[in-house]
Amino acid sequence: MDSDFFSVDNLAITFGGLRAVDRVSFTINRRSIFSIIGPNGAGKTTIFNCISGLYKPDSGKIIFKGEEITGLKPHRIAMKGIARTFQNIELFLRMTTMENLMLGRHIHTKTGVWSGSTFFRRGSKAAREEITHREQVERIIDLLDLQSARDQFVGGLPYGTQKLVELGRALALEPELLLLDEPSAGMNSEERQDLTFWVKDIQEELGVTILLIEHNMQLVRDISDRVLAINFGRPIGEGIPEEVQNDPEVLKAYLGEEESIDAVS
């Protein structure tokens, strides 16, 4: 039963001749942490964009809980229980942290135009719904230690905090599958340690399955159950963290990158 929780089968997409993702397949077990690694431009984010419906893959299938979700509209995919964060933070900058997280409750709430515009007291339908969901969001705020940012506009928050707000917003959707695109990018080592701890918590306590893109190998090693390495859109190795990290081909892919970095500097 476990194996048909989430799987990607022969996923491929090209952009004007560039094979950004080229026949990638993998399977994620429920309640596990699965990481995708690879050098810059390998196609990691593109895989996320296909899963969350922002891109339509040229071919391949994406199966979630036994159901094909390939090519569905992004909001449909969200409603199935898949949430994500973005590599370049995509927050609602002129909303407060609380409002950002409340937006995360969108699919679990119902207030429409009429009840939303006509509530006038605590007992009104819209007000009751608002109160209940604010309470739930408050728990996420506590979990991620965001109390001090609660009523601040997120546009003014430091980068690391913004990343957490984005994580919180994704959690507010109560996803079964959570896609995290380089969550630790731009964080200092203390923030990164907290993050490692929270991601582990989210998996263990909340039972959320996590698909992670991450450049920090320490973090990947610490929390991943399985790792997939890709380069130029092609899978080049899959297995438990140690296996993949010592795989000659993976080392070569990263080495190639480092050499080019050295050459530049």
């Binding site: 909001h75 969200a78 995509e90 709430t109 007000a127 109160i131 604010r134 994704a170 959707l173």
Partner: protein, 356 residues
């Protein structure tokens, strides 16, 4: 961690006794106001209220959802003509006619929202501009809309608000005041509530990041068209009230320039703020009505209009009021991009920390 919060406070309109006090003062003053000021000023206040409704409606679309419209004069016209026509031809009572007109406007708003799903920025601006122009053209050509001559608003009676017929006529600006102000009040409060809850958040989310909004489960197609429809609904109501405020409507009162004026109300008031919309609608209406009279100023008026006739106008008509209007808008946008709302916030902060 024992900071128990009252979550209702976050969305409550009046969250303290002090605010309730001021709110009641406001209501009371609104009730006695028309008995204290001369007729012309009551007319002015009515006009302000109509423009506040438009500004709030347009702000929902532009300021909250981040979509542009240069065609709102079209919805305003639809509201005005449909209200009048459904009273004269269908013999609907006023309030029903007004509601019908608003829903017709909302329907057109929905239709106009469809291209908005594919168009962004300048392209959307052009599409909505085309819509506004088309509406005035259609209204100007069709006989049923009175053609170029326009239509006269039928007499309003007190019973006629709810049923057809009736004898107690509402004619004076003061009587209209008690019709327009409550409607403006209700619509403004409703908009404020809506923006505080789920639908409003979806609008703002689309404005700030439509990609994030849709991956969080917001059906952006639905909410974008909804924003157009609600915005048009508000503008339609305002149009219907305007017809009775002026008493007479013809296509030329709904020109492209009016759409631009509406947009300036929103920008001057402050994008994405209901309170700003109220301030924007009020001050800009005041400004427009005052500037119309600039020529009547002693000495200065003559000089200004002679100047503008001689140097600023191709047609030889004095256009000093438009020039001053434009100048004021440029200054506001330049020095207070957040509009009057931004100005208000800063003053509030200033007084909070005063005298330190």
């Amino acid at each position: 961690m024992d900071m128990k919060r009252d979550y209702y406070e976050d969305i409550q309109l009046l969250d303290s006794k002090v605010l309730w006090f001021w709110f009641l003062i406001l209501i009371a003053s609104l009730i006695i106001l028309p008995f204290l000021i001369p007729n012309y000023y009551i007319y002015m206040v009515n006009y302000m209220a109509v423009n506040v409704i438009v500004t709030v409606g347009l702000n929902i679309l532009v300021g909250y959802t981040g979509q542009i419209s240069l065609g709102h004069a079209g919805f305003f016209a639809i509201g005005a003509f449909i209200t009048v026509l459904s009273m004269t031809n269908l013999h609907l009572p006023f309030l029903l006619a007004l509601l019908l007109a608003a829903f017709v406007a909302a329907f057109f708003g929905f239709i106009l929202g469809l291209p908005a799903l594919r168009l962004k920025g300048p392209y959307l601006a052009i599409a909505t501009l085309g819509f506004g122009l088309a509406i005035t053209q259609v209204i100007g050509r069709w006989q049923i809309f009175g053609g170029r001559m326009g239509l006269e608003a039928p007499g309003l009676t007190l019973q006629g608000l709810f049923f057809s017929g009736g004898s107690y006529t509402l004619e004076s600006d003061r009587q209209l005041y008690f019709l327009i102000i409550p409607i403006a009040f209700v619509l403004t409060t409703a908009a404020r509530n809506l923006m505080k809850t789920r639908v409003g958040r979806a609008f703002i989310a689309i404005r700030d990041s439509d990609i994030a909004a849709e991956t969080m489960g917001v059906n952006t197609v639905y909410y974008k068209t909804l924003a157009f429809a609600i915005s048009a609904f508000y503008t339609g109501i305002a149009g219907g009230l305007y017809a009775f405020l002026i008493g007479f409507i013809n296509p030329s009162s709904f020109s492209f320039i009016l759409s631009i004026y509406f947009l300036t109300f929103v920008i001057v008031g402050g994008l994405g703020s209901i309170f700003g919309s109220i301030m924007g609608g009020i001050t800009m209406t005041w400004l427009i009505l005052k500037l119309d009279k600039v020529q009547e100023l002693p000495y200065l008026g003559d000089i200004l209009s002679a100047f503008s006739e001689r140097w600023m106008s191709v047609t030889g008509f004095p256009n000093i009021s438009s020039i001053i209007f434009g100048l004021i808008i440029i200054l506001i946008v330049l020095f207070e991009p957040l509009g009057l709302y931004g100005f208000w916030i800063r003053t509030k902060i200033y007084w909070k920390t005063w005298p330190f």
